[in-house]
Symmetry: none
Subunit: 215 residues, 2 copies
DNA sequence: ACCCTTGTGACACTCTTGTAACAGAGATTC
DNA sequence: GAATCTCTGTTACAAGAGTGTCACAAGGGT
């Protein structure tokens, strides 16, 4: 996700940049309206955070121009408190309007909701989308069976920890499950065939673990 | 679209009811938290507007309970101005948090944005006209039954997401619906026969999803 | 070299889903 | 008010995808 922040207060952009980068977004910074538009049109931006008052072109102008031609999300950030301003910003197409001073946690929450709160995990060449129950290897979608996905999820949630067949059976199959312990082996094998053998580590006599270190 | 408004100030619910009805929504009104939950669970509600401070159950409790089991949208309306309150409301799953006093036009705008004020949709050979409740395949009008159209609408609104029979039953048939889960299958089949089987994807053991990618 | 654990492929069975036919509730018409 | 039509929900059965088990192979540890 690529984010563009435009504000003439250096202080503000620095704070926001830090927050966004901590969440794993790629960030561009502009100090005025013109620069914002330039950066927007020369990069693939998914979300723009705009201050209302900026030199050269105001936030509302920039928002308007972007919304004419693009589906990118726009958040207006402003010190103005009038209801009319909020109304016209939203009416022009802004997706969010937040008054300064604001709580950065709230900004982040609202933005995450806006961008679709996709809970995705990335482990080297693997991506797991828990919400949509999809797994990608090198960008290509894998088709996992339900049990395989559940097993992968549980392994991932406990990555690095050694999980005995027994605990895997009770957690993934259910406490009351009666059946062969070796069933786990078969599922591990099938999972390995799909996601790549090296993601699951065998600990002889103890169980399996999910490889958590990147590289 | 069915909307539930819960606020103990009669004055407030009356105003909101008027606004929403002018926009063509069907409105239910509750005067306290308990009534809100009752109405929610005995009707097919798409959006809930909740006052924070209410007798019996607070808005935040109601929100929490609803979000546990339903995909309905929730807007918190409150006189509290603390940032912490806003954060916890959003964190619990509220989709919007608006401070009183507010500008009703802004509330309506934000809600319209939230509900996705989309009037028509096109998915490959399919066109859905939500306002006129009509569906076209390759330009030709299909005749869907009411339930089929509702099911299609809900699938479309959540395209890409895997929806369990259970959540389909509660969202399309209503929270209080008692009946076979397999009823969903039958309706999915009928829908598929009309719109084309490939628009609805089966996820064995998990549910169905609407195919969201063009091609 | 031996034993014990794990990997692997094949097979069998079960459970989920697709499907058609039927039943019944409402609506509509005469 | 009966007859008919429209729409929705249930059931039963078939197909086959998904899962569990087994037997044998491979490999590590002592």
């Amino acid at each position: 996700m690529n984010i563009l922040i435009a504000d003439d207060e250096k202080h503000m952009t620095t704070i926001l940049k830090t927050y966004f980068e901590k969440e794993g977004y790629k960030v561009w910074v502009a100090a005025d309206g013109e620069e914002a538009l330039e950066l927007f049109f020369s990069n693939k931006i998914d979300l723009v955070v705009l201050d209302w008052m900026m030199p050269k072109r105001s936030g509302i102008e920039v928002c308007n121009e972007i919304k004419q031609v693009s589906l990118a999300k726009v958040v207006m950030l402003t010190a103005r408190s009038s209801h009319d301003d909020e109304f016209s910003a939203l009416d022009i197409g802004a997706d969010e309007y937040i008054r300064k001073p604001f709580d950065p946690r709230i900004l982040m929450l609202r933005i995450k909701k806006m961008l679709g709160t996709q809970k995705v995990a990335a482990i080297r060449d693997l991506e797991i989308d828990f919400e949509r129950k999809k797994v990608y290897k090198k960008g290509e979608e894998l088709s996992l069976y339900k049990k395989e996905f559940e097993l992968l999820t549980f392994l991932y949630e406990n990555k690095g920890r050694i999980l005995s067949r027994d605990s895997l059976l009770s957690s993934v199959w259910g406490m009351d499950y009666l059946g062969e312990e070796r069933t786990v082996d078969t599922h591990i094998k099938r999972l390995r065939d799909k996601i790549g053998a090296d993601h699951v580590i065998t600990h002889r006599g103890m169980g399996y673990s999910f490889h958590d270190k990147n590289q």
